[in-house]
């Protein structure tokens, strides 16, 4: 099979699910330059404040987002390499410093074992992308484990001690837990190092055993994936068996029920933002050509991320080749609004809750970290507006401007 035939099949693979399921697939028209402005209170309600216990020497940077573990709210500060844990009611629980393990470590939460995992490179080695792929292909060679380090913090142990652990294959392959004993991998790459030309964008595993592959592509020379590393995105819903799946360079949003995939939405963009047909069949000659294409076409569609849906709205992010924008789809009016055009208003204390980043979804609630200065300045300027009950004690204590407050809210349903 030559490359051209293979490319044709790949395009078909990409289009057929969308076409075959066209009866169910709903089109969502997105105009990136749409300028309409709406009030935040039209979309957001059920605002609840969770002031965090003020502790000396504990600072949470404004860019930090809230992440939920089994028992805690977790705030990461990758600059200072610190993780701060609070109970879900806002009481300080502990602080984990991971400065000593080096610069290349990022934290992730392992929900299966209720642990914070720090997986990263061994500082004694410098790896290129090609090295990483070679290691991945020879992951069964135990000598390859020396390139990585893994540390864990068991959150069921209140001492929050950082312990070294041996990396395993799941760490190396970045396998993510889906449900029960099912794991998935969504990394997409092309290389002459692959012996088999057949690859799948999304793979399901039962523990370590390959179960099912979706969206076949040419592992060596797929034009759209040449000289880049891509990844299928999974967005969790409150139900562990139901997830949204989106693919790079594909405008279709899939819903996944256990291991079955269905296209549910298709984003339709103006021609100037859409990928041209040549992108799928004409390969880039080298990395520089791909990089220049990306930089010269910053507003061309790349991938959809972070889908949340309720009866009235769908929120999602669209990553263009060099930009990221967040949108909200109003099901009733079938219109899409850029989230940056939604403005806070005084009924919600002028707090900007819908924004391009920073909000974390947990079940059907969103959580966002803000600092007390936003609230202090608002209530100072609007003395006629009553202070909510869950903030009264906090504000009466005259907190510092930097004191953290978590805000819980929902999209109207």
């Amino acid at each position: 099979m030559n490359v051209r035939h293979c490319c044709f099949l790949m395009v078909c693979c990409c289009l057929i699910p969308a076409l075959s399921g066209s009866a169910q697939v709903q089109k969502i028209y997105v105009k990136p330059k749409e300028a309409g402005i709406e009030k935040q209170s039209k979309f957001v309600d059920s605002i609840r404040f969770i002031p965090l216990e003020i502790k000396k020497d504990i600072e949470i940077p404004s860019f930090s987002s809230v992440e939920f573990t089994r028992n805690y709210m977790m705030f990461s500060d990758p600059e200072d390499k610190v993780i701060v844990l609070y109970s879900k009611a806002g009481a300080f629980a502990g602080k984990i410093s991971y400065k000593k393990i080096g610069d290349s470590f990022e934290s992730s939460y392992d929900e299966v074992n209720d642990r914070i995992v720090f997986f990263g490179d061994n500082n004694n080695y410098a790896l290129t992308p090609r090295d990483r792929l070679k290691i991945l292909l020879n992951r069964n060679d135990p000598r390859n484990l020396k390139y990585f380090r893994k540390y864990e913090v068991d959150l069921s142990d209140n001492s929050f001690t950082l312990r070294k652990n041996a990396p395993d294959e799941k760490d190396l392959t970045h396998a993510m837990h889906l449900y029960d004993d099912i794991w998935y991998k969504g990394d997409i790459t092309t290389s002459s190092l692959f012996k088999d030309s057949l690859g799948h964008e999304f793979r399901l595993y039962r523990n370590d055993r390959f179960l099912k592959g979706y969206f076949a592509y040419h592992h060596i020379s797929e034009p759209r994936f040449l000289y880049t590393d891509e990844e299928v995105n999974i967005t969790r819903t409150g139900d562990p068996f139901v997830n949204f799946l989106t693919r790079p360079f594909c405008d279709t949003v899939y819903k996944m029920f256990r291991d079955s995939l269905f296209p549910v939405y298709r984003l339709v963009l103006p021609l100037e933002n859409s990928l041209p047909a040549s992108f799928f069949i004409k390969p880039f000659k080298n990395k520089a050509e791909r990089e220049n294409y990306t930089r010269n076409n910053g507003w061309i569609f790349h991938q959809v991320y972070n889908i949340y849906e309720n009866d009235r709205f769908i929120t999602f992010d669209i990553e263009y080749l060099t930009r990221l924008e967040s949108y909200i789809y109003q099901k009733e009016s079938k219109t899409v609004l850029n989230i940056k055009n939604i403005k806070p208003d005084s009924s919600q204390y002028n707090l900007k809750l819908l924004a391009n980043n920073g909000s974390q979804l947990q079940g059907d609630h969103f959580y966002r970290l803000l600092h007390a200065e936003d609230l202090l300045s608002f209530f100072e300027a609007n003395k006629n507006i009553p202070i909510p009950d869950d903030l009264k004690d906090f504000l009466a204590g005259k907190p510092d401007a930097e004191a953290p407050v978590v805000i819980e809210y929902k999209l109207k349903n």
Partner: protein
């Protein structure tokens, strides 16, 4: 003046009409009655804005803009004692659902990481150029030396549509020629520094770049200047600069002819000096009074630039630039040198005066090709060809007197020479970086240069000793010389060395760079010297000076650099330390073949040395940036064959050079420190930058002179090693700017200190000389809305020398210059400017005042200019300069320009796209 001290205040909020949601970052502008911008700001996160210090009882227009909304306008008139509040309600522009703003839009906005300036939002004169526009943007400062800073950060490159405008790296060709009306927007962003390809990226490695995006209708155009002037004392000038461009190509012709010492030798200089700018009349492109002698200069040239790619970004370049210049100078110089010469027993005073004329003609052809595809590759190829001919003659008379003003000797020389030379050079630099294959990262630089020269010189010298007539000499000598030279130098930085050597091993994060430097140098001289024999009326070969010499030198220096970076990024900024250690082994081999046996040498040298540096940098976001470094390095030098076995020519009786075969190698150790600080606070009206550079070097076994002074003043210099020489220097500058609405105050202070301690021998006695020099300059410039620019400048210099040998007298001289400059740009296209320099020199009895005045008037719809220059109105100017050395102080007085008046007419042809500059298309 209470009327001026009372000002009004305006506050308000900006909201959406339908939802009443506040509109953060909406732009609110306060305009005068004539629609010029008085002040602007963006609404805060609560939609609030606040203006202070607004004039009272004047009608002001307030506009508010926000993408996708109709523009809001309201007229206000502020009264004293109370704050006016305005609620701005913006309605959605339903006719423009794609968000294209019909109005001029906000003056500045952030688009991702790029700051975009919208020219249409700034009200300027119809013929304003980019520089005048930039002057109105808060945070941008254009310093008087042409440097542009944005919130304290220096703009490293100015591009037009992603490329150097007209192929030039000088930003002024773009900013002082392109009219505001031709500009779509101006972008400011950080760009990767290609000189760091393959190396770890540091915060300082990005370059602040300004990109001027032309309107689609202005992608082609032409501009230039043709001017000619004539004045008293037969002074004249003429200048030509004409440039034409389109999307891919540009061409320029330039030239000039003058006898007012105006520099026109370089084509790029011609283009830069003949820009259209009308904010600050060019006080520098005038007769140069500080120059030596009277120069008649001419030049003419052409420059062609072609971009083989249409890309409008700065990553992808594929460009060729060709420059050709033909230029020349006729110099007429009379000079007088007064020298206090140190000797142990008889201090000597030397008076040396001469008349010199010289004619030089040269042609230069340069071809530059640049290709880059990404930020990780770079190919640059530069070739230059030049030819020159020099013809000159001079007459000099020298007198040496003792402390009691008794004449000791005289020397009269005449010289006549003709020289032709040609040079070719080829410079190649190639860099590649690839994160996937780091073992293939490298940076190669290769420079080759070849030259030929031929000269013929006739010198007569008549030395008359009044102390010992037996020393009298009378020489008539001819020198014929031909020289061929070839030099090849290369540097290969193998930045992938660590990967190649250690594979995946990271070596504690230490970066390794293996550098190979090599050089091959070949120099062949054929010198024939003949002494005139009057009896035969011919030149007889002088066998002690005539010689053939061929020198070949090969050098190779492998170096290993180890660098380690420690840095920390935070939301509020970053700070980091960098350590460097460089180990080098210099291997040198020299072979000298000469017709004199003792000059046949075959030598090899090896010198191992280690250099190091430590640097620290800190940036507090939107507050300040600080950088400091400490460097240590060693240099090795071996004596040249001309110092070991000099060919002694006694025709210059006051400086007879004699070699020393016992000279030793010398080693110099240098410690250098560099510190700079600049504020980067966009909210502050003050911008401060300061720089300090200190240098200390000590040389062991330096080559110095052993001087034998004879009673007649005749002097022989023997090369000899001293024990050590020490040099200290400190350079510093401090700049500050203060914006006050439309006016700006600039303060620039710079100076340097130099201190040298060196040894020599005078009449066989060891002497240690200490010299000290200080130079300081402070400039204060106030500009009011480009209509008035006042410059006040004070500079002073002091030089001292002291000697350890008893009987030697210490000397000092000093000078100072006070300058007042005023530029007045009147509304009726008339500009008046004047500079007055008051020069004080310790060797001149009375201060000298150089007063120049210019008056220019723009006519013919701004495309013509009549300029009247009145130079040296007080007719006082003299060219005087002071210097100091280990042997005493010197004062040099030369002829130069003196009072003249000049009337010049210039025409500025200009067209950008289909619209003539200054006439916006309707």
């Amino acid at each position: 003046m209470p009327a001026f001290s009372q000002t009004g205040k305006l506050t308000g909020t900006v909201k959406d009409s339908a939802s009443r949601a506040v509109l953060e970052r909406a732009t609110i502008s306060v305009l005068r009655a004539d629609s010029t911008v008085m002040a602007y700001q963006m609404a805060d996160k609560n939609g609030r804005f606040q203006f202070t210090q607004l004039p009272l009882k004047k009608k002001l227009l307030v506009s508010a803009t926000y993408a996708g909304y109709n523009v809001f306008y309201s007229t206000i008139e502020l009264q004293g004692g109370k704050t006016d509040t305005l609620e701005v309600i913006l309605t959605l522009d339903n006719h423009d659902s794609l968000g294209v703003v019909v109005s001029s839009g906000p003056p500045v906005r952030m688009n991702g990481d790029t700051l975009e300036i919208n020219p249409a939002a700034f009200k300027t004169k119809p013929d304003a150029v980019v520089e005048e526009l930039l002057n109105q943007v808060s945070g941008i400062t254009i310093w008087s030396d042409g440097t542009i800073t944005v919130n304290g950060k220096e703009v490293n490159s100015v591009l037009v549509d992603g490329k150097p405008f007209m192929g030039s790296s000088d930003p002024r060709i773009a900013t002082q020629n392109l009219p505001k009306s031709a500009i779509d927007k101006i972008q400011l962003y950080q760009e990767f520094d290609r000189s760091k390809i393959g190396q770890p990226v540091q915060p300082r490695d990005s370059l602040l770049t300004m990109n001027i995006k032309l309107k689609e209708t202005s992608k082609k155009g032409f501009f230039g200047k043709a001017g000619a002037g004539y004045g008293t004392s037969s002074r004249f000038e003429s200048d030509l600069s004409f440039q034409v461009y389109n999307k891919k190509s540009s061409a320029g012709v330039g030239g000039g002819f003058n006898n007012i010492n105006k520099n026109i030798g370089s084509l790029q200089e011609m283009f830069q000096n003949n820009t259209y700018r009308n904010m600050n009349p060019n006080l520098y492109n005038t007769g140069r009074f500080g120059g030596n002698g009277i120069n008649r200069n001419y030049s003419g040239g052409i420059s062609l630039v072609h971009n083989f790619t249409e890309s409008a970004n700065s990553r992808q370049n594929n460009r060729a630039v060709v420059n050709y210049t033909r230029s020349g100078t006729d110099l007429n110089l009379t000079d007088l040198n007064l020298q206090n010469r140190t000797t142990t027993s008889n201090p000597q005073f030397i008076r040396d005066e001469g008349v010199q004329s010289n004619q030089q003609n040269r042609q230069d052809l340069g071809i530059n090709y640049n290709k880059t595809n990404t930020y990780n590759d770079n190919l640059n190829l530069v070739t230059n060809f030049s030819t020159s001919t020099d013809d000159g003659q001079s007459n000099r008379n020298t007198e040496v007197r003792d402390a009691s003003d008794q004449l000791l000797s005289t020397n009269a020389t005449t010289s006549r020479q003709h020289r032709t030379s040609s040079n070719e050079s080829l410079n190649l630099s190639l860099a590649k970086g690839n994160s996937d294959e780091p073992a293939k990262n490298f940076f190669l630089q290769l420079n080759t240069r070849a030259g030929n020269s031929r000269s013929e010189r006739y010198v007569t010298s008549h030395f008359n000793s009044l102390t010992d007539p037996a020393q009298n000499t009378d020489i008539n000598r001819r020198y014929n010389n031909s020289n061929q030279s070839l030099n090849i130098t290369g540097t290969l930085d193998y930045t992938g060395f660590k990967r190649m050597l250690l594979g995946r091993y990271n070596l504690f994060g230490i970066f390794l760079n293996f550098t190979n430097w090599f050089s091959y140098d070949r120099n062949s001289d054929n010198t024939a010297v003949g002494d005139y024999e009057s009896s035969t009326a011919s030149y007889i070969r002088n066998s002690s000076l005539s010689n053939n010499n061929k020198r070949e030198k090969a050098e190779y220096t492998p170096s290993l650099s180890l660098s380690k970076f420690f840095y920390k990024y935070r939301e509020s900024g970053y700070h980091g330390i960098q350590l460097n250690l460089k180990l080098s082994d210099e291997l040198k081999s020299e072979k000298n073949q000469s017709s004199f046996t003792q000059r046949n040498l075959n030598r090899t040298f090896q010198f191992f040395h280690y250099d190091g540096s430590l640097s620290y940098q800190q940036q507090k976001k939107e507050k300040y940036r600080y950088f400091g470094s400490l460097n240590y390095f060693r240099n090795f030098e071996y004596p040249t064959v001309d110092r070991l076995y000099s060919l002694v020519d006694s025709i210059n009786v006051y400086d007879i050079r004699i070699g020393n075969p016992d000279l030793k190698n010398s080693i110099t150790q240098t410690l250098n420190t560099n510190m700079n600080f600049n504020t980067q606070n966009p909210k502050s009206k003050f911008l401060i930058s300061a720089n300090l550079n200190g240098n200390y070097s000590v040389t062991s076994d330096p080559v110095t002179d052993s001087i034998i002074n004879e009673l007649s003043g005749k002097r022989s210099n023997y090369y000899i090693n001293a024990d050590r020489t020490e040099n200290r220097s400190l350079n510093y500058n401090f700049n500050m700017s203060r914006k006050m609405k439309k006016s700006e105050l600039l303060l620039m202070y710079s100076g340097n200190l130099r201190n040298t301690r060196s040894s020599n021998y005078i009449d066989a006695l060891r002497n240690t000389s200490k010299t000290f020099g200080i130079s300081n300059q402070i400039t204060l410039q106030y500009s009011m809305n480009t209509a008035l620019i006042i410059t006040l400048q004070q500079s002073f210099q002091n030089n001292k020398s002291r000697f350890s040998l008893p009987g030697l007298k210490s000397f000092s001289n000093n000078g100072s210059t006070t300058r007042l400059g005023i530029v007045l740009n009147l509304p009726a296209n008339i500009s008046i400017s004047s500079t007055a320099d008051r020069v004080i020199n310790s060797n001149v009895k009375k201060p000298i005042v150089l007063w120049n005045t210019f008056m220019s008037c723009r006519v013919m719809k701004q495309q013509g200019e009549i300029k009247f220059s009145a130079m040296d109105l007080l007719k006082q100017y003299q060219n005087i300069s002071n210097s100091v050395s280990a042997y005493g102080t010197s004062t040099r007085i030369t002829n130069g320009l003196q009072q003249y008046f000049l009337l010049t007419f210039s025409y500025f042809p200009r067209k950008f796209g289909n619209t003539a500059a200054g006439k916006p298309k309707k």
